[in-house]
């Protein structure tokens, strides 16, 4: 397949693996966090961990929007979905995530709620046009990648003056989360944050550019290499991070030059700024509340905000006490350190954030990497 096979070539991969082995010093540690779930998925799907030397370890970050959505928000979406006038629509991997009491959107659908899986935000708008007698609510989740399409359909809904369309906005922001990983009191308590460098997001960076990472790379002295989602992108970026660490540099480098620029997509950024504003604080599943880390719909578009149209009850849910997701997302623990992993917590019965989607650290490890522990 053109434009895919080139980035998955085994011979090139072996060459890069040799270079990494040559560069990585056996006597030092290279703990590299890939922030994005997309990278986690690529790393495991293509079997990258066993191409890396022992001193290079990948830590799987919180960049999976399905994983970090707090149960309370999902419960609110379920509350919306069971209203008889509502058609709730969302992206596929959101549907299976369990909320309180094991309820999920898939189960609610089986019980009669009108819940539709959509493939693009535009489909949500189309549903509203097709069903003028129903209230169509788009359960919007995702990082800066999926945010501009949501902004666009809100503007289009305004132009069309659609009375039956709203968005339950759960869009979150990448840079505050990365800063939080390094700056949160919990992280400082652990003194040495066990993350030496970051594999920067691919698609998110197409939108926001590489500039937003510069400040924290400097402030926290951690190198960042923005990496594409193909396995060769990941390998090359790991090599670039290893080189930076060896040379004592902490810069933002861009491996994904075929898509990412320093300033990013200005048009998409403008669109987001027109429709959304930062929330003072937003809860991240596994990480807790992070200031200015999520978006809400601006007053100007208030009539398309599901949180204002429907009565919403604050829902709080507690995570299982033995769950180590918080520590796993910070790189302090590995999935296999958790007592629940592969016992009570499996992809069929996920208890913690990292197990709910195939991009979560625990789920990816369970699905693709488990055989290594056993060997």
């Amino acid at each position: 397949m053109k434009y895919i096979d080139e980035f998955r070539d085994g011979a090139t991969a072996r060459g890069l693996a040799r270079r990494i082995v040559q560069e990585a010093r056996p006597d030092r540690r290279y703990h590299l966090m890939e922030f994005c779930g997309g990278h986690t998925h690529a790393i495991y799907r293509h079997g990258i961990p066993n191409l890396l030397p022992a001193s290079v370890r990948m830590i799987h970050g919180p960049g999976c929007p399905v994983c970090v959505l707090p149960i309370g928000r999902l419960d609110q979406a379920l509350d919306l979905a069971i209203r008889p006038e509502v058609i709730l629509c969302s992206y596929g991997d959101m549907l299976r995530v369990p909320g309180s009491g094991g309820q999920s959107l898939l189960k609610a659908r089986a019980a009669g709620a009108d819940i539709r899986m959509i493939y693009s935000a535009a489909d949500a708008l189309m549903l509203a046009q097709r069903h003028p007698d129903r209230e169509v609510v788009f359960f919007a989740i995702g990082f800066e990648t999926t945010t501009p399409p949501t902004a666009l359909i809100i503007q289009q809904a305004a132009q069309l003056d659609l009375p039956n369309f709203t968005v339950f906005c759960n869009h979150v922001l990448t840079p505050p989360a990365i800063v939080h990983l390094l700056a949160a009191p919990e992280a400082r308590e652990l003194e040495a944050v066990p993350i030496d460098g970051f594999l920067g997001p691919a698609h998110v960076s197409v939108v926001i550019g590489s500039e937003p990472y510069e400040r924290f790379a400097h402030d926290y002295q951690r190198p960042v290499v923005i990496a594409g989602f193909e396995p060769l992108d990941v390998m090359q970026s790991i090599l670039m991070l290893v080189c930076q660490l060896n040379e004592g540099r902490a810069e933002v480098e861009n491996q994904y030059t075929r898509a990412v620029t320093r300033e990013g997509n200005r048009k998409a950024q403008r669109l987001m700024a027109e429709v959304f504003e930062p929330r003072p604080v937003f809860e991240w599943r596994g990480l807790g509340p992070i200031p200015h880390s999520a978006l809400q719909i601006r007053e100007h578009y208030a009539r398309f905000d599901a949180e204002r149209r429907f009565p919403m009850t604050e829902r709080t849910a507690t995570e299982p006490r033995a769950c180590l997701c918080g520590a796993i997302l910070r790189g302090v623990k590995k999935p296999t350190d958790c007592k629940l992993f592969d016992t009570a917590c499996t992809p069929e019965t996920p208890l913690g954030a990292c197990m709910v989607s195939s991009e979560g650290a625990c789920a990816a490890y369970y699905r693709y990497g488990r055989y290594q522990e056993a060997a």
């Binding site: 998955r8 085994g10 293509h46 079997g47 899986m117 990497g369 488990r370 055989y371």
Partner: protein, 351 residues
């Protein structure tokens, strides 16, 4: 051939152009008799059905009997390369064939939703009859029920199949042994992607067709070429991954695949890439997995490749000892990964 059945006094012929399924078509009365007469009996015509009994009385050739049942609920009902009717024949025929059985007879149970167009039903039934004829099996008994509108999805079909296993053939999912070879009869994921391409909310253009096909003749040539064949299974729902995990667990062995050896059409790979799906988990309806001892592998491969349904067959991996019964794979990229069971439905990823 039996005497033609007594003609029943129906007021007029069923309207297969504009008519619809009605509740009365399942109520056991005259309307049902007319539907059976003018549609099912006419399409499936054979001596057993012509007797108009509530059961078929069969004289079977000697050998062990294989029996299997499957229900079909595919959406959409018509897709490139097939429809629910042909699928209901091929699926059940293949389940018999995987035991090495020669499929002989099928039953067909229909659950119809009131309001379903008779024209579509006729198309499905005729497709079923055509598939059965081509596979050399007869549909010898059946049942029709009609549910209220909104309580079904157009048509559900159940088929039960019966076949006879020739003397000396011993195929079973628990017979894979370390050192054995794993073969796949052709490209992965054609059926699943062809069906998905037509699904509401996902329509995309492709020339791809479902691989839906009856595999018993292919199996017969494989058995003739290598009587030592250990197990056969068709990777339907859950795809190659689920089927290999089943076989590994049943036989108490591990399996190791080579991704580079697994045939996938570029258009299937592209659609999966786009939708965030993995071809290893996508359904097939005309492919089989074979496990055979290493000394037989060349003969089995040659037999497969000599048949049109096995032209793209490949040796994709080997069986090995593993107390955890893991299925693992060396990726094209050169790494290793687990090929686990599918958990839940395969759902597209967000990004």
């Amino acid at each position: 051939m039996n005497a033609p059945p007594v003609r029943r006094p129906f007021a007029g012929r069923l309207d297969f152009e504009h008519g619809q399924v009605e509740l009365s078509h399942g109520s056991g009365g005259r309307a049902m008799a007319q539907l059976v007469e003018e549609l099912f009996a006419a399409a499936f015509r054979n001596p057993w059905l012509d007797q108009r009994n509530d059961q078929a009385c069969l004289d079977l050739p000697p050998g062990r009997i294989a029996l299997t049942t499957d229900s079909y609920v595919v959406s959409p009902l018509f897709f490139p390369g097939g429809d629910i009717g042909s699928l209901a024949v091929h699926g059940t025929v293949n389940d018999l064939a995987m035991a090495g059985a020669r499929p002989l007879h099928l039953s067909a149970g229909f659950i119809l939703e009131a309001g379903f167009p008779l024209a579509d039903l006729k198309r499905i039934v005729e497709s079923m009859a055509g598939a059965a004829r081509a596979a050399g099996v007869s549909i010898v008994t059946g049942d029709t029920k009609v549910v209220e509108r909104g309580k079904g999805d157009g048509v559900f079909i159940n088929t039960t199949g019966i076949g006879v296993i020739p003397e000396g053939v011993q195929l079973s999912g628990d017979r894979a042994r370390p050192g054995d070879c794993i073969l796949l009869s052709g490209t992965l994921g054609d059926h699943g992607v062809a069906v998905m391409s037509q699904r509401a909310g996902l329509e995309f253009e492709t020339n791809l067709e479902s691989d839906s096909a009856a595999l018993h003749e292919l199996v017969a040539v494989m058995i003739a070429a290598a009587p030592g064949l250990r197990c056969l299974r068709d990777p339907t729902r859950g795809g190659l991954a689920a089927t290999l995990n089943e076989l590994a667990a049943q036989s108490g062995v591990g399996m190791h695949l080579r991704e580079a050896a697994i045939p996938v059409r570029p258009e299937v790979a592209a659609a999966c890439e786009l939708l965030g799906l993995d071809p290893l988990y996508v359904a097939n309806e005309g492919k089989l997995i074979a496990v055979c001892p290493p000394e037989d592998v060349e003969r089995v491969l040659a037999a497969l490749r000599a048949h049109p349904l096995g032209a793209a067959a490949a040796l994709i991996g080997t069986v090995r000892e593993d107390p955890h019964y893991f299925v693992t794979m060396e990726t094209v990229f050169g790494g290793n990964r687990l090929v686990d069971w599918l958990s839940g439905e395969q759902l597209p990823r967000i990004c």
